[in-house]
Symmetry: C2
Subunit: 416 residues, 2 copies
């Protein structure tokens, strides 16, 4: 007799990685729920590996303890402390799976091993040895790997930085050559824009890696940027879906997989940036380096940059920085005033960046034009413009954020 | 110039293990306090290794989660989950030490490695590789080892059973050939009896391993029995002392170390036992085996046993079992009634075991006689008597517990 699972022809040997985020394992009932979802995939004849985050809130508490003991804590000890959150969830999830009759066992980062560099508290995965896991999966066992953690060259626990469990899952999927990596979270997918602003926002069935990266400001709470970069590099198909609803999610895939490519995939916005203008700088070669060199030295990321047309030998330079760097950026420029030789600095935190994202832009003209016309029709002034191959971003007064997003969502025919 | 630490002649190269229990690390302030005590020993020129328990309450929560998911949880997963408690404390303690300027690092059981057998959730230590720790200690670093945990032959985390951190500390002290193992707890030592019953109970400066083991019922919350057995076997000098008071504690040492040996070290009592009498069993060879065989098969520990003088071919057999096994023991005997052939079972939970403990008994006669006379003078009836080389125990009605302990404490001149 051939056992039933073998009858799922075509599904046999399909490997998936299922990753459950903090809200999906926040408490024993949710862990049981996650275990049920794993069992369903196992029952469907799939080979499944699971990656889990810490229970929601746990990591914050552990981090808080380290910070309270010392703001300058030893990152190696921090790693040993905070990695326990995922260790607990992995063990509990394995028990929950066993209770459902699923053969399962937990794996810590050092057991797998998930090898990382030695950058404690923000380590990068260098390799995952998937052999042992693959051989156990082939025998029907479900490995439950603690996310967010690995082991460094010093034989000590490392962690990958906040949100790192997404990266763990994608890296494991790559190591296991999995068919896809399902990221279970508290939203049911990636939307054309923030549904809180546009109730008619549509869930996307598919999105390209590049678009997902550009939509980070919408998707920040959906997928960690590094995990998307890794998925793109390793060509891992990632699905974002809800652990609380029985619905397909959004597949993040290679561009070739999307046959009917929309020109615009979504509208993103960010209120996290602030605008700084350096007025009346001498319009000479090297002036940009004089301004942005000191900012770079201070590890301040500059996003949008626009240089005005020169008048009487001077020009204005406008750019945006993250709001958390806003005061520090001004201080750096004050200090470099003599070297740069500007007249004054003006600054504005009350701005919002609106972005239109879509790989279709590469082959379709007029996307930027539609954006500018739509905003003009609404009487919204554009302060700064920047573009990439698949994105057009504009800076507008923050009060226009919702209006701009709604108008653009309609203009690009994204409404449901 | 010779650095100051090298001037502590005689103290140089004195190694100590300092173990902090759950109440001594319950919260960041207490962890800081523990770190101060470690720093004091380091400043005195000692080489120090630290062993920590989980913060009070943490282990119970972790155990509770496992049990709630499955009463029959996989002990390997349980171990992965509960071992995180000590991992967190070890990391936080290392940070607290660093904040005080002490070079410190945490060590998980698998990093040291603390090698154990594969008996998950109740593993026994088989060996500790102390080389790496010794070399770092010689350079002034303080290793902070997570107690209670080790690694099994399956390369998975094992735990040693409740209270196992004491055993971790003693085993580490043995591996490091430490001068002594200081167990910091919430009491300041071992007393001649329970100070709640006898306010004049004295703290013992020294006690022998054998006495400490026999005083377990008094000392149960002071030292885990297995840790004392291990200390005795490995000849590790153990000190029990308070992490909240600056006082010397009680040294648990080899008999030869105690010059002025008291005849009686202390009076212990236990209300955890119950008495069962099997009446009118045939007085024939093999009857004891017929009664205690089934109890043993049911993993029920029998403590005191007394057999009455035979009359008309039958006898009564009285013994004690732990109260938790009381009902089960009676059920086992009911089931074996035909094989044993007794008339009836009588049982009494309202009893207390009073013990007089002291290695001096070996060389001094009259200790038991003093006990019996003292209790008789107080009108306390003795129900069962049992003796070992260094202990005399009697079973009395529970209501006499305090009276008996106080009278004996005075009779053996133990009052302060």
């Amino acid at each position: 007799m051939i056992p039933p699972a073998f009858l799922h022809k075509g599904l046999l040997n399909v490997r998936i990685v299922m990753k459950f985020g903090g809200t999906s394992v926040a408490g024993l009932d949710r862990i049981r729920n996650a275990a049920q979802r794993v069992k369903a995939e196992v029952d469907a004849g799939n080979q499944v590996a699971v990656v889990v985050s810490a229970m929601a809130g746990v990591t914050n508490q552990l981090v808080g303890w380290c910070q309270e003991l010392s703001p300058m804590f030893d990152a190696r000890e921090y790693d040993a402390v905070v990695a326990t959150g995922e260790q607990v969830t992995a063990g509990l999830t394995a028990i929950a799976l066993q209770t459902l009759g699923v053969d399962a066992r937990s794996w810590q980062g050092w057991q797998v091993a998930v090898e990382t560099d030695g950058q404690h508290s923000k380590a990068r995965i260098q390799g995952i040895d998937g052999e042992e896991l693959l051989s156990r999966m082939a025998q029907g066992q479900v490995p439950v790997m603690a996310g967010f953690q690995g082991i460094g060259p010093d034989n000590r626990i490392t962690t990958l930085g906040r949100g790192g469990s997404d990266t763990s899952a994608v890296a494991l999927a790559a190591a296991l050559k999995a068919e896809r990596c399902d990221i279970y979270t508290d939203v049911d997918g990636v939307y054309t824009t923030d549904p809180r602003i546009v109730p008619g926002a549509r869930k996307l069935n598919k999105i390209t890696y590049e678009e997902m990266l550009e939509l980070a400001s919408v998707g920040a709470k959906v997928l960690q940027t590094r995990s998307v970069e890794l998925a793109m590099k390793e060509r891992v198909r990632v699905q974002v879906l809800s652990s609380f609803q029985d619905l397909p999610g959004t597949m993040v895939v290679d561009e070739e997989e999307i046959v009917e490519q929309e020109i615009v995939a979504g509208i993103a916005y960010s209120r996290d940036e602030a605008k700084i203008t350096v007025r009346r700088v001498p319009d000479r070669p090297g002036i940009a380096a004089a301004i942005f060199g000191p900012l770079s030295d201070a590890h301040i990321n500059v996003d949008m940059i626009v240089q005005n047309v020169s008048a009487d030998g001077t020009t204005d330079m406008t750019f945006t920085v993250g709001k958390t760097d806003f005061l520090r950026a001004q201080a750096v420029l004050e200090e470099a005033k003599k070297e740069i030789g500007y007249a004054e600095i003006t600054a504005d935190q009350d701005v919002s960046k609106i972005s239109v994202v879509g790989v279709g832009m590469r082959s379709h003209a007029g996307v930027a034009g539609t954006m500018f016309k739509t905003l003009a029709d609404e009487g919204i002034n554009i302060q700064v413009i920047s573009t990439s191959e698949i994105k057009v971003s504009v800076l507008v007064a923050a009060k226009y954020t919702e209006l701009a997003v709604r108008a653009l969502h309609t203009a690009y025919r994204l409404d449901a």
